[in-house]
């Protein structure tokens, strides 16, 4: 049994990394994760350490990417900014995935009135643009990192619910499910031990793509001044600060912007790769 599993994992990874682009993407993501986790060790400066005699300098040996408006080292803030982006991206997507998947499971499986009501609620959430929804919710929840995660998470729930819904609908009348029912298995058991695992792969793909989207959303919010509170380092906030300096000291604005792009690109391509690797032919074997 174990041998089987190991062989399947190996096969999965071989498929996943068969395209060079996916390898590149995965390394990018890994790179940023490492940078985020080990940030304090990778730089001698603190992210809030300001030095007002040294503002907006160009890259030097002391400050590889120069300093920002308050004399803080840009490279340091980028490393810590990775934390903010990854934390918000991962946590809010996790919130969205868990809530959305559960709702989708329930509405898909039980159908009927529950499904109708939930679908309409999901439709309603999708009629309000996600950024607006996030802003409106921020009005209620406030603007610290925790609330932002919740807010961005809630505004992404609809995608998972819909996806899960469709998945469940297509499986729930399959033969093996019927067999379990005949054997007397309870609904909960069926839901969690049979249906859920078989629907997971599209969710996983969506997860990775969503992380990218959420990071972009957070950077847009920061650009508008509605993101994490200062002085927390956030790539979007740094881009917003840096846009006025674009002609004078482009590094300040370009560096975080490029980081956003690379990280999101990494997650997106990883998601594509996962989708290729988790072909329907493999579904059910993980």
């Amino acid at each position: 049994m174990n041998q089987e599993r190991i062989k399947q994992w190996k096969k999965f990874f071989r498929r996943l990394f068969s395209r060079k682009l996916v390898v590149v993407a995965a390394s990018l993501v890994l790179f940023f994760i490492i940078a985020a986790v080990f940030a304090p060790f990778l730089t001698p400066y603190g992210p809030y350490q300001q030095d007002l005699s040294n503002v907006l300098t160009k890259p030097t040996t002391a400050h590889w990417l120069g300093t920002d408006r308050s004399g803080r080292d840009v490279l340091t803030r980028i490393l810590y900014g990775a934390r903010t982006s990854l934390a918000i991206g991962v946590v809010s997507v996790a919130i969205a995935a868990v809530m959305g998947t559960l709702l989708g499971l329930i509405s898909g499986y039980y159908g009927g009135l529950v499904n109708m009501v939930l679908s309409r609620i999901i439709d309603m959430m999708m009629s309000i643009p996600s950024l607006m929804l996030a802003l409106a919710l921020a009005l209620v929840f406030g603007r610290n990192m925790g609330s932002l995660m919740i807010v961005l998470g809630i505004s992404t729930v609809p995608t998972y619910t819909r996806l899960m819904n469709v998945q469940v609908l297509s499986i729930k009348n399959a033969d093996y499910i019927m067999a379990e029912k005949v054997l007397g298995a309870g609904n909960i058991r069926i839901l969690f031990t049979h249906i859920l695992p078989n629907c997971l792969s599209p969710i996983i793909v969506l997860l990775t793509a969503n992380i990218g989207m959420t990071i972009l959303a957070e950077s847009s919010l920061s650009f508008l001044g509605m993101g994490v509170n200062p002085p927390t380092a956030s790539w979007g906030g740094m881009v917003s600060d840096g846009t006025t300096q674009l002609l004078i000291n482009p590094v300040f604005a370009l560096a975080p912007g490029i980081c956003i792009m690379l990280l999101v690109f990494g997650f997106n391509v990883l998601g594509d790769g996962l989708r290729d690797a988790l072909d329907p032919r493999l579904r059910g074997s993980i």
Partner: protein, 313 residues
């Protein structure tokens, strides 16, 4: 077919009802006194009492909700305390701007997206495919506001080709067109990239299908194969994507409105949220929702016309 349409209309109405409930309770979810949220803090005791009774705060929630809904449906959207004018007028001046710019960018985005995606899908593995794929992946991850600012710097400051801000219907026609270029391009890029990727993967899937092989075997010209069969089938998911993107367009891509100083719905909603101008926020949410639901409805119905399988479900 008509049963399908009726069903969808019914669903749309239900959704709008839910949106109205959400918009309504937003006022009470905001921390602070709802009267102050509506009128601002700068009012006298008498004004407070009058507003309290007018808003029906002394009556039950249900009565209040239906009162608000009735007023909304009959065109009384309240007064914006920030702008000291009826919300209808405020929205009336901004909605056309957003719709105009938004629709153009959706059209451009979808059009170019289909084009590029088809090219990429057909020429899989060749240089053109790789180039388009890389570009569309990069474009999809580029923050929109960054693109906007870069565009402004290059085309307005450096090259001097385009004005740097201020789209409005009051400008003379040629200027208006030039003022629209940068905002529209910034708005479309994301759409182009998403559509290209979707179209490309759709084309890849479709090209492998049997009926394409049959068409080729029949001796049809390559372009005919592509047109008559491949594109038609690959384009369907793009239609749904477009429907979904309309809602983002209607919100006016707030950051673009901010960078280019355009008075559209996006910045109105955001400023309303920031200054807690609740009447404006409620009306904006309702209007945006109505536009989105309407366009989704149209998209779904046309989807149903294009793809008979959907109707039968």
């Amino acid at each position: 077919m008509s049963k399908y349409i009726l069903k969808r209309i019914g669903q749309s109405l239900a959704v709008l009802f839910l949106v109205s409930v959400f918009a309504f309770i937003l006022l009470y979810m905001v921390p602070g006194d709802p009267v102050y949220a509506m009128l601002g803090g700068d009012i006298t005791r008498e004004q407070y009492d009058i507003a309290y009774r007018e808003m029906g705060l002394d009556r039950s929630v249900m009565v209040r909700y239906f009162g608000w809904l009735f007023r909304f449906v009959t065109g009384d959207w309240g007064k914006s305390f920030k702008y000291a004018m009826p919300v209808v007028e405020v929205i009336g001046s901004r909605l056309p701007v957003t719709m105009f710019l938004g629709l153009i960018s959706v059209v451009i985005g979808t059009g170019f997206g289909i084009l590029l995606g088809t090219v990429a899908g057909k020429n899989r593995g060749k240089l053109s495919d790789s180039f388009i794929t890389v570009c569309s992946n990069l474009g999809a991850v580029m923050p929109v506001f960054w693109l906007a600012v870069l565009g402004m710097y290059i085309f307005s400051l450096k090259l001097g080709w385009l004005p740097s801000h201020g789209f409005s219907f009051a400008s003379e026609p040629w200027l208006m067109v030039r003022q629209a270029v940068l905002p529209v391009i910034s708005l479309s890029v994301g759409q182009i990239c998403i559509t290209t990727r979707q179209m490309r993967s759709g084309m890849l899937e479709v090209i492998r299908q049997d009926y394409i092989r049959t068409a080729r075997a029949k001796g049809l010209k390559e372009s005919q194969v592509v047109y008559r069969h491949a594109i038609r089938n690959a384009v369907l998911p793009v239609v749904t994507l477009t429907g979904m993107s309309i809602r983002n367009v209607v919100a006016g891509a707030v950051s673009i409105e901010q960078v280019f100083a355009i008075a559209g719905m996006g910045s109105l909603l955001m400023n309303g949220i920031l200054s807690k101008d609740v009447a404006v926020v409620q009306a904006c949410i309702m209007i945006i929702a109505i536009v989105v639901v309407l366009s989704t409805l149209i998209v779904d119905i046309s989807y149903g016309i294009l793809d008979p399988r959907i109707r039968i479900k």
